[in-house]
């Protein structure tokens, strides 16, 4: 089962904001060739660095809970958990999944989205109270997904602190949200598309690809 399989690309513009209309429909914007901005080794290095930063910032991995946001955030959380387990043997390598679909603010602007699964590591006994939660997502863009994630967390319990890790921060925030851990800051124009490809989700080699407007 891949609960997020019906989710659109998480890097797609989540909600066109009135006034800052990114691409008027039918605008003749030239489509630039896709270019790879991060390769497999870059991604691996970035994740290792983020893992170290998490341990450093939180002075260890006690009470740490990684929650990936479907689809690719879950795989990234899985990889971060593996790295954390190597750095901090006390960390069990567990991670969870946080589906935010039912908390989104753009449901009525999109075709109906399938609801994904929220899974907490079995060791938690269903509570996230007093945990140090690190949300993991692939691309940080408008911030609306993270806003939804914060609401979703709220319904699960009361963490001690919530932090955010993103593989790519492409800017254009629409909410006062920032990432605590960033793999790469990537200046983009709104009309560009950033795609994270992970071998265990998409097949092929890991990469982050930036391309022009997709017609």
């Amino acid at each position: 089962m891949n609960p997020g399989s019906r989710m659109p690309e998480s890097s797609a513009p989540s909600s066109p904001t009135p006034g800052t209309n990114p691409t008027p429909a039918g605008a003749a914007e030239p489509t630039t060739a896709a270019r790879t901005v991060l390769g497999e080794a870059d991604i691996a290095r970035a994740l290792t660095r983020i893992a170290h930063e998490i341990v450093e910032r939180n002075k260890g991995a006690a009470d740490l809970l990684l929650l990936g946001i479907p689809t690719r955030g879950v795989q990234l959380a899985h990889r971060l958990a593996e790295r954390l387990a190597q750095i901090e043997p006390s960390f069990g390598g567990e991670y969870g999944t946080l589906d935010v679909t039912m908390y989104r603010d753009d449901l009525r602007r999109q075709p109906t989205r399938a609801v994904g699964q929220t899974v907490l590591p079995g060791s938690l006994d269903g509570t996230i109270d007093d945990k140090v939660v690190v949300l993991v997502d692939d691309v940080l863009f408008s911030g609306r997904t993270i806003r939804a994630a914060l609401d979703a967390l709220n319904d699960l319990g009361r963490p001690r602190v919530v932090q955010l890790a993103a593989l790519v921060d492409r800017g254009h925030r629409e909410l006062p949200i920032r990432a605590d851990y960033v793999g790469k800051n990537l200046p983009t124009s709104r009309s560009e598309r950033v795609r994270v490809r992970l071998s265990d989700v998409d097949g092929g080699a890991d990469s982050v690809v930036i391309s022009g407007v997709t017609p």
């Binding site: 609960p3 039912m102 602007r109 999109q110 075709p111 109906t112 399938a114 609401d151």
Partner: protein
């Protein structure tokens, strides 16, 4: 999905999406905070022309758990006979800006008309129309069957449901009782068939509709033979309406309640004939001692209470899929 009116014609993909979404909804219902913000600002009207406290409460709970505003519109007795009221009520609901209407009506086709007569542009969810359909009942039955027979949740129903994405291929379901007047039977025959299950209707010949031959199921007049030889994985007992038992000369569909109970009632003896994994369902409310004995109803393999809980999750899923997306939705 603009409306949910019938299970006949529901695609397998949509059926599985409904069941999978129900599973996710069910997962949120074990939390301390059961309420989701998903349908905030949307208005769901429960339009009930027939008494059904159970169904109405189930839909009301589902809508409220998704933060929708719920308006209960009990139109019972307000002139089904005069007819005009359904249209006028629809126009009223339209003027009030209802986003979805959950309708229960004694007239077959009332939900279809509400959706298609041009009186109203809200999504319509059929909560039972006459002898026609009751799609969320069938979905909750299928969901319950899938959890137990495919998802391995265990006898107590508390295990992790591993059936996401799965259909009901090869599952054998016997539906027993008054098929003729039953919207539950009609809804289940089509949905279970779409999901790959095999269905046998078991009923006295007087309670099988003329024209049943096109339904995707088998028909038997003998409960014991079906249980022993066909070995169903699930047995669904239908409620026998009291008014079917008498009704004056020629009005009764069987000679006596005792004879019905002897030939078509489900009890511990008949339960013992079933395979160990088999489950027993009933849409409620039950006539204990008529179509089902207390021993069978309260047996560990009876999932009747769980059906009620699953009803909320299934109705949450249906409301979500009807209301959450853009307004350009496709009719089911």
């Amino acid at each position: 999905m603009k409306h949910l009116l019938t299970t006949q014609g529901l695609s397998k993909d949509d059926a599985i999406l409904l069941l999978d979404t129900s599973a996710q909804m069910a997962a949120t219902q074990s939390r301390e905070n059961k309420k989701l913000p998903t349908l905030r600002g949307r208005t769901v009207v429960n339009l009930f022309y027939e008494d059904s406290t159970r169904t109405r409460i189930s839909f009301e709970t589902a809508a409220k758990r998704l933060s929708a505003d719920v308006i209960n519109f009990s139109a019972k007795g307000s002139s089904v006979s005069k007819g005009e009221s359904l249209k006028d009520t629809a126009l009223t609901l339209h003027a009030m800006g209802a986003d979805a209407v959950v309708v229960r009506h004694s007239a077959s086709g009332a939900a279809h008309q509400l959706a298609h007569a041009g009186w109203l542009d809200a999504g319509v969810l059929n909560a039972g129309d006459g002898m026609h359909q009751h799609p969320t009942q069938a979905l909750l039955d299928a969901f319950t069957i899938r959890r137990h027979l495919v998802g391995n949740v265990g006898e107590d129903g508390r295990g992790t449901d591993t059936s996401a994405g799965a259909d009901l291929a090869g599952v054998r379901v016997a539906i027993v009782g008054d098929v003729l007047h039953s919207r539950v039977a009609r809804s289940n025959v089509y949905l279970l068939h779409t999901l790959g299950a095999e269905v046998t209707l078991v009923s006295p010949p007087t309670l099988v509709p003329v024209g049943v031959e096109t339904w995707p199921c088998r028909v038997s007049y003998h409960l014991d033979e079906t249980l022993e030889q066909w070995q169903p994985d699930a047995v669904m007992m239908l409620r026998v309406q009291r008014e079917r038992m008498s009704g004056g000369a020629g009005g009764a569909f069987f000679p006596s309640p005792m004879e019905y109970s002897r030939k078509f009632g489900f009890d511990a003896r008949r339960l013992a004939v079933l395979p160990d994994h088999a489950i027993v369902l009933h849409p409620g409310p039950m006539n204990r001692g008529l179509e089902i004995s207390a021993a069978a109803a309260d047996h560990p393999r009876s999932v009747i209470v769980e059906q009620v809980a699953n009803g909320v999750a299934v109705r949450m899923a249906a409301l979500y899929l009807l209301l959450a997306g853009t307004d350009e939705r496709n009719a089911l």
